[in-house]
Symmetry: C2
Subunit: 488 residues, 2 copies
């Protein structure tokens, strides 16, 4: 018979099921053959009868075996195994921005996701405390209640408490739970913008990447340069006068991708402008917890008067969760809840329960502290070797998960991105984050992935070869991966 | 010391934490007092050191106790217990439709949710198989990958297989996983409608309830009467000629709230009209699995050519999950995925994992069969007593979770709904589902809740009192709950 491995991460039920399928596929067990009885197999493998019978039930459901009452389980025609393997995979969208996000979300696509927006799984292994058990999940599943429209009261209360720790004074009735930060943006855009309105975004910005996914009918996008210490306020005032935007999207702490944080003085001026020119601000703080230098958030200065504060737990707890929230000025909460119900009725009570238990556990703050430490360490290592390899970092005071680096002029970025892709490395070129063309030579590096030896080898080789090609005057002709012998 | 209950559904960690909080709140343990050591309490309660230390960690995080290194754990000022209880609850939106949905989603609001859209929790207790364990969830949480943009390949493959069982021939690359059926609608509306376009909906219809949440800028809603055997096709053709709608929303099986199913002949004509007048169809099959008489879906007749098929697992597995899908014509899949990424990037890998394991288990079909049986039994019991109490059912061939009944004319429906509300009973009046005024005397009854003795007493009393009031000619004056003595 086959072996089972009690130390494997694969469930026993699945191990048994997979072993049977393997035998059928390799024709060791053939059509019409009788399987061992549940009892006999359980005894032989030293597992419970329940485990074996669950595995058999699964195979029946998949039309691989059948149960003949009184006679036992029998193997159906081998062709039945077919449907289990569905190789009809979905191609990424052809758009530059949607293609990137689609690939970035699919873990099977890349071995080294150097430009991913997520933290490495190993850094999050202990993020969820042991109090999140199967029993808790099963209780939540079988209690039979949906998540309330705005999110559970417990979750909103614990979020409000956590916000007070970063000096944002929000009552739980100002918190609306969303399916992540992106979802918060989508709901606020729909709520705050009317057709023809202008939306102001920083350039470069991750938010610009998201907005470029689709040509939205409801608003026009205008941009203001993002500097190291926040948006360029002079340029911003000119845009405010000219276009009177209704909404400004920004990231105060550790801007994605630039890395700098808005200074409190600039934040104060920004809030004054919002009053003078009558626009609202959406502040995205998804990565703020990872900043080694914590400064004031706009929502804290503003008292959630004109500012909507957005954050997410998908980054710092687990990408498998889809949970974030908006802290909104009181007058907008009701409309925001209506917008959410119109969009998806309510959230996942499972995800809400997991996050509630995690935030209430003593481990959460320690986890964030450890993450911040780790980001800082990896950041300085990454910056060192990337700098030595020829990548230039022209920001000052940058911090957080992303390094925003300019590659030497002789490196052809679209080629580099494509060759990285072929080598299983995900790279996000600056063009994804900017409308200006000014950042075409940039790459956003995730410090959690860019110290990978495979990526070091890849980048050093390609920057080195690009130098050589310039010397030979053939920079656009030679493919350094396929024909390195010619260039050396 | 305090007792713990190993048979309780409350986790041991929470029992310990709650017991300590109770002692602090009742001043048995006072500020500055030292707690038993972790080891001592663990020994005394017969639990692991880890369990006690987790409870203590939670209390530290909640600022109820503090850890003094080398000295132990001490109780902080009693005022610190305060923030745990957040009584700043969020009021329901004032809109009739959003107010209803908000209340219906909050389990704390009603003892007997007679008009709920969800199945009773007890009916779903065994829906998720034992193979969904804490280990599975923890693996998913710590594997560190988001759900792919369109949903996991495994889940999309198993959904495609299940669809083939109901004669819908969809490849897995046509399946886009959504956060429930409502989310599927929202994405398709955004994708298929341009500003000024007409959207055709049946009247009455649950879909109309959802659409009335918000005045959408992007489209105008027009309606066609829903008859027992599908939409009124003559009225429909007149609307098609006059308005040329781009999209038609319908429920083929067990229409919500009417209960009837569209006949295959009518379905065929509907599809012919969609070709003749060039519109798309969204078919919502959320409740179709509960129909005792299974007929052909439009998506099956149409071969997913002009029809988008939507369904959800939140109803038949657990309302705690937020997971549904769209099966789309191939040419629309890429745009739909882009729309989803623009709206919320991706779904919850946790919810996707739970549903994948459940669908793959042998239990799923048996669970659906048992649910269908139960719905049929409760439906006939409910119809009998409601009929005897004076509620009229004028549909033929209705089936599924909802009874759509007309109350006697002398019952003032807004009063009844309000008095039910006061008595902890959720009732959905016909006006929520219709624009015409024709259904104002109707109530949507969920057969899973309307056999509750408390509701029987309530309804019989109120219909009886309404009769009496008519006799006395005071129908709008007397409140039958507060002053029954006057009327009798």
């Amino acid at each position: 018979m086959f072996q089972i491995d009690r130390n494997s991460k694969t469930l026993l039920v699945d191990q048994i099921r997979n072993a049977i399928i393997a035998r059928i596929e390799s024709f060791q067990w053939v059509q019409g053959g009788r399987l061992p009885s549940v009892r006999a197999l359980a005894r032989q493998l030293g597992v419970s009868i329940f485990t074996v019978s669950s595995a058999y039930e699964d195979l029946v459901a998949q039309h691989i075996i059948e149960s003949r009452p009184g006679a036992g389980y029998f193997i159906l025609a081998c062709s039945s195994v077919g449907p289990l393997k569905d190789t009809d995979t979905l191609a990424p969208p052809s758009g530059e921005h949607s293609g990137f996000l689609f690939r970035a979300l699919d873990p099977a696509q890349f071995d080294i996701p150097v430009s991913s927006g997520y933290l490495p799984p190993a850094w999050l292994a202990d993020a969820v405390p042991a109090s999140v058990t199967g029993r808790l999940i099963r209780n939540t599943l079988s209690c039979g209640t949906p998540a309330p429209a705005a999110g559970s009261q417990d979750l909103r209360a614990v979020i409000a408490r956590k916000l007070r720790e970063v000096h944002i004074d929000a009552s739980s009735s100002q918190i609306v739970v969303t399916m992540g930060a992106t979802h918060g943006f989508a709901l606020l855009r729909n709520m705050l913008l009317s057709p023809g309105d202008y939306l102001l975004v920083e350039d470069p910005s991750y938010l610009l990447l998201q907005l470029k996914l689709i040509k939205d009918r409801d608003f026009k996008i205008i941009t203001v340069p993002r500097l190291d210490d926040g948006p360029d306020l002079a340029a911003m005032e000119a845009m405010l006068i000219k276009y009177r935007p209704k909404l400004f999207l920004t990231q105060t702490l550790v801007h994605n991708p630039v890395g700098g944080s808005t200074s409190p003085a600039k934040g104060f001026k920004l809030l004054s402008l919002s009053r003078q020119y009558d626009f609202h601000i959406i502040e995205d703080d998804t990565f703020g917890a990872l900043a080694s230098r914590q400064t004031l958030r706009l929502a804290s200065l503003d008292g959630l008067d004109r500012t909507f504060y957005i954050s997410s737990f998908s980054k710092v707890l687990s990408p498998a969760l889809r949970l974030g929230y908006v802290a909104a000025p009181p007058a907008f909460v009701e409309r925001l809840v209506e917008q959410k119900m119109y969009n998806l009725l309510c959230g996942s009570a499972i995800d809400e329960t997991i996050v509630t238990y995690t935030l209430e556990s003593g481990r959460y703050q320690r986890h964030l502290d450890a993450l911040g430490q780790r980001v800082m360490q990896e950041r300085s290592r990454a910056r060192e070797w990337l700098g030595a390899a020829g990548v230039v970092f022209d920001e000052h005071g940058a911090d957080g998960l992303f390094l925003w680096g300019r590659l030497p002029e002789q490196v052809n970025i679209p080629n580099l991105v494509e060759q990285a892709h072929q080598a299983g490395i995900l790279l996000a070129p600056g063009s994804l984050f900017s409308n200006t063309g000014e950042y075409d030579q940039y790459i956003r590096f995730n410090v959690g992935y860019c110290n990978h030896p495979g990526f070091k080898r890849f980048l050093r080789t390609h920057i080195g070869l690009a130098h050589l090609r310039v010397v030979e005057g053939q920079s656009d002709v030679i493919d350094p991966v396929e024909r390195p012998a010619v260039t050396v």
